[in-house]
């Protein structure tokens, strides 16, 4: 191969604070348009910015989990540009003294472990959201997201392939979500990234012309965009038919192409200057230590604990610790039902398949852990069978039912009356002579059909193992 692709990333991560960076509005995702907005984040004059302490602490945590050097005294700056989603006409960010510099994140690649080095992480406020309404031919502005606190994690151009980029983003997601800094949901925009890409001849030390693909929010799109853009660069270098210019581009997912955003170069003077209304923030060793002590267990440590102390398989552990949300559900359920292997099994086998049916990923699952544990308990106590348990879990998921109450009210407990089970089996054996004969002829699998028939007559409330055992006994005696 003649060329190599050089990629750097700017990853924006919304921090999981309750309120915005500089005002007390809720930072919750999903509210009605402009519901979480006050005069300050609507850009009205006369509202001084007062920094959210929790946001600074999350950013310190981000510095810690990325092995960065924390700036002893950091400060905020103003970046000037006009756009409807920017209520004040300036964004409060950090240019001169960002929270930290020179960190690194280790990723696994086909060639082994690789360190991705970070230039810096800075804190800044998010912009609002624009909705384009074709019916009225206008754009509509929602400031709910305006001033929600972000950390922007700026890497050096250390990536050579899309696979490395994806591995890095997944590692960042794990590091940040397990530290409680962000839920890192790309589809909700709480983790987004700008991809800087250039192509050069292998062996060259100088970087080629760099283009920036803005606002990417899915791993699939990022891979596709990198593939497209690096090919475009290579073609340009190879054929000379297109001249590459340093510019900002956007990814059109439907077409599968990057498109120039045609920004005027002159417009790129952001007139940064230090923000005089926000006092600098001194971060001393004591404060860093307090944040460090408060950090939750990282995914890697948890994986080790799950496999070594709780006896889970590496496969189960990797799934549970591959998502902060699943990991929280695991912990929550384990508190009420103390058998780790079964909890993991229920989550991985049943819960994930229910969620998948609703098009929800690991990160989006919302379930009452106590109810999940209760379902497991009911099955374990042989009050219901596993199939009924799965059905109940589906109802917990959809309607939030109370499992124990639901079982009682709908009389879903397993039939314990052995004479009823006996008589049901005899009825089925009398009715299903074909299957009985098949079994007798040596097709042992025919028993499954018979078990199903008995369960059906018992309205799903039998214990399938017990029914199976009894059937074998009867058939062998016949």
């Amino acid at each position: 191969m003649k060329y190599e692709t050089v990629i750097g990333l700017e990853v924006h991560v919304e921090m999981a604070t309750k309120t915005k960076l500089f005002c007390a509005c809720s930072a919750q995702f999903g509210a009605a348009a402009n519901e979480n907005v006050c005069p300050a984040c609507a850009g009205m004059p006369g509202m001084p910015a007062v920094t959210n302490k929790k946001a600074v602490e999350f950013a310190i945590a981000a510095a810690l989990v990325t092995n960065s050097n924390i700036t002893p005294t950091m400060s905020f700056d103003k970046k000037n540009y006009f756009y409807p989603d920017l209520p004040t006409g300036y964004q409060i960010t950090q240019l001169f003294a960002p929270i930290c510099r020179d960190g690194w994140v280790e990723i696994e690649t086909a060639e082994g472990a690789k360190k991705i080095t970070l230039k810096q992480i800075h804190i800044e406020e998010d912009a609002g959201k624009l909705v384009h309404d074709n019916r009225i031919g206008a754009s509509l502005v929602d400031f709910n997201r305006a001033s929600v606190p972000l950390v922007e994690i700026v890497s050096n151009p250390d990536f050579r392939t899309a696979e490395e980029v994806v591995a890095y983003l997944e590692e960042l997601r794990l590091l940040l979500s397990f530290a409680g800094i962000s839920d890192c949901k790309m589809q909700e925009g709480s983790m987004r990234c700008d991809v800087n890409i250039s192509v050069r001849k292998i062996g060259d030390t100088k970087l080629g012309v760099r283009t920036e693909i803005k606002n990417m929010n899915s791993l699939k799109a990022i891979s596709a965009a990198i593939a497209y853009e690096s090919q475009r660069h290579m073609d340009a270098l190879e054929t000379g038919e297109e001249t590459l210019v340093q510019e900002t581009r956007r990814w059109d997912d439907a077409v599968g192409e990057t498109l120039s955003m045609r920004e005027k170069e002159a417009a790129a003077d952001y007139r940064y200057f230090p923000n005089p209304e926000i006092m600098p923030v001194e971060i001393d060793a004591d404060w860093i230590e307090v944040v460090r002590q408060g950090l939750p267990e990282p995914a890697q440590d948890k994986f080790v604990r799950l496999t070594q102390e709780l006896g889970l398989s590496e496969y189960d552990s990797s799934i549970i610790t591959g998502s902060k949300n699943l990991s929280d559900i695991f912990d929550g359920a384990l508190k009420h039902f103390g058998r780790p292997k079964e909890v993991a099994n229920w989550i991985i086998v049943e819960l994930l398949s229910i969620a998948k049916g609703d098009n929800k990923g690991e990160g989006d699952i919302e379930i009452d852990c106590e109810k999940l544990a209760k379902v497991m308990q009911l099955v374990d106590d042989k009050i219901i069978n596993r199939a009924m348990g799965k059905k109940l879990l589906g109802l917990v998921w959809k309607e939030g039912i109370d499992p124990a109450k639901y079982v009682e009210e709908n009389q879903l407990g397993m039939v314990s009356d052995t004479s009823l089970i006996d008589s049901t089996i005899q009825t089925v054996l009398a009715e299903q002579t074909k299957s009985v004969n098949e079994y007798k002829d040596g097709n042992k699998k025919a028993i499954n059909f018979l078990v199903g028939q008995v369960m059906k007559k018992l309205a799903g409330k039998g214990d399938p193992n017990m029914v199976n055992g009894l059937l074998v006994k009867y058939l062998e005696d016949m």
């Binding site: 005069p39 850009g43 006369g46 509202m47 001084p48 000037n80 502005v141 940064y272």
Partner: protein
């Protein structure tokens, strides 16, 4: 105390009230909230009596001052109000107060909340008091000063005591001052001649830093969220340009353009950053261990830009200052941070 009636400059927010900052840009802006000073006054014996017009956003012309006093000065001068609150960035209130039989108190930066004050230059903005005499002025100030959690750039003190202290006050008189102009005042005190480092650059530093900060603070006026919007436009950029070109008057436009220039990539280091550095030299060269108060006249020229040098020091160094007329001469006194009491003492001495 029931004769106290306070007027507000039109840059101070009052809930459900039209707040225009003297600009067409905010001609229809109804404030959804009260400024902290308004809230504090409403809980005091001072009653809010009205609002007064102002230079657009508080930015005076650099060329021509005009004869008509500003609304806040006029209201106090003619007795309509006992006090008026305003943000005197460029010294016009300080000067005009002394010319119209009033006094002006510019409190220490960071002692009066700016929550609800339409910002001009955030590193300098400070609500001050136009009053008839400094006793009344400080009585009002003591009601509004003190830490507000909604303003992040404030000293931690919850309240301030402005009672006069020592009458033994040492007055420093800068070399540039023609002593004859303030002779009658100075003879009441022990005086020393002082040098103000880089006085020759005061007005430039003041102008560069303020116009840059102003250009930033007025970026929010774009016809999207509130205030004036051009009636006809083609597309977003045209909406911005027409709205701002129509909504801002000449002095604001010039300030915005100069400020934009000062912050631009090329000019930042030679102008903006340089001015911030000289600002430090100015502040750190002051020697309040050898004098208690710096005294100077309120006017040295008919050129507003030249006079800016006189008002720059309290603004640039965040220092408390008072101005008043003494035997026909406008005097400005400047004290060290949070040493308002010395200013009141000096005023009492010379008025005795």
């Amino acid at each position: 105390m029931d004769h106290y009636t306070v007027f507000l400059e039109d840059s101070i927010m009052q809930k459900d009230t039209l707040v225009t900052a003297g600009s067409k840009m905010l001609e229809n802006f109804v404030s959804p909230f009260d400024a902290t000073v308004v809230k504090r006054l409403s809980e005091s014996q001072f009653s809010l009596a009205g609002r007064v017009i102002m230079d657009e956003f508080g930015i005076p012309s650099l060329i021509f001052e005009g004869n008509e006093p500003l609304g806040a000065v006029k209201a106090v001068a003619d007795g309509t109000a006992s006090h008026a609150l305003c943000n005197d960035l460029f010294g016009k209130y300080r000067k005009q107060a002394t010319e119209n039989g009033c006094c002006y108190i510019h409190p220490t930066y960071g002692t009066v909340s700016r929550f609800g004050l339409i910002p001009l230059a955030s590193s300098m903005d400070q609500i001050g008091v136009v009053c008839k005499n400094l006793h009344d002025g400080f009585a009002l100030l003591s009601q509004i000063a003190g830490k507000d959690p909604r303003d992040g750039a404030m000293f931690p003190e919850e309240s301030y005591n402005y009672a006069p202290t020592s009458k033994n006050i040492r007055i420093g008189i800068p070399k540039f001052v023609n002593i004859e102009t303030i002779e009658n005042f100075a003879k009441n005190f022990q005086t020393i001649d002082i040098e103000l480092a880089h006085f020759e650059a005061y007005k430039q530093v003041m102008y560069i830093l303020s116009c840059a900060e102003i250009s930033n603070n007025i970026s929010r006026y774009d016809g999207v969220k509130f205030g004036h919007r051009a009636t006809s436009f083609r597309g977003l950029d045209d909406l911005y340009i027409k709205t701002r070109s129509e909504g801002f008057g000449a002095d604001v436009k010039l300030t915005a353009i100069m400020g934009t220039m000062m912050l631009s990539q090329k000019q930042y280091a030679p102008y903006y950053e340089k001015a911030m550095k000289i600002r430090r030299l100015i502040k750190e060269s002051l020697k309040f261990d050898t004098y208690d108060i710096i005294a100077m006249p309120c006017k040295i020229s008919d050129d507003p830009y030249e006079n800016l040098a006189l008002y720059a020091l309290p603004t640039l160094a965040g220092l408390p200052a008072v101005s008043f007329a003494h035997k026909g001469c406008g005097i400005q006194l400047i004290a060290n941070t949070k040493c308002e009491s010395a200013l009141l003492s000096a005023w009492e001495v010379c008025m005795a």
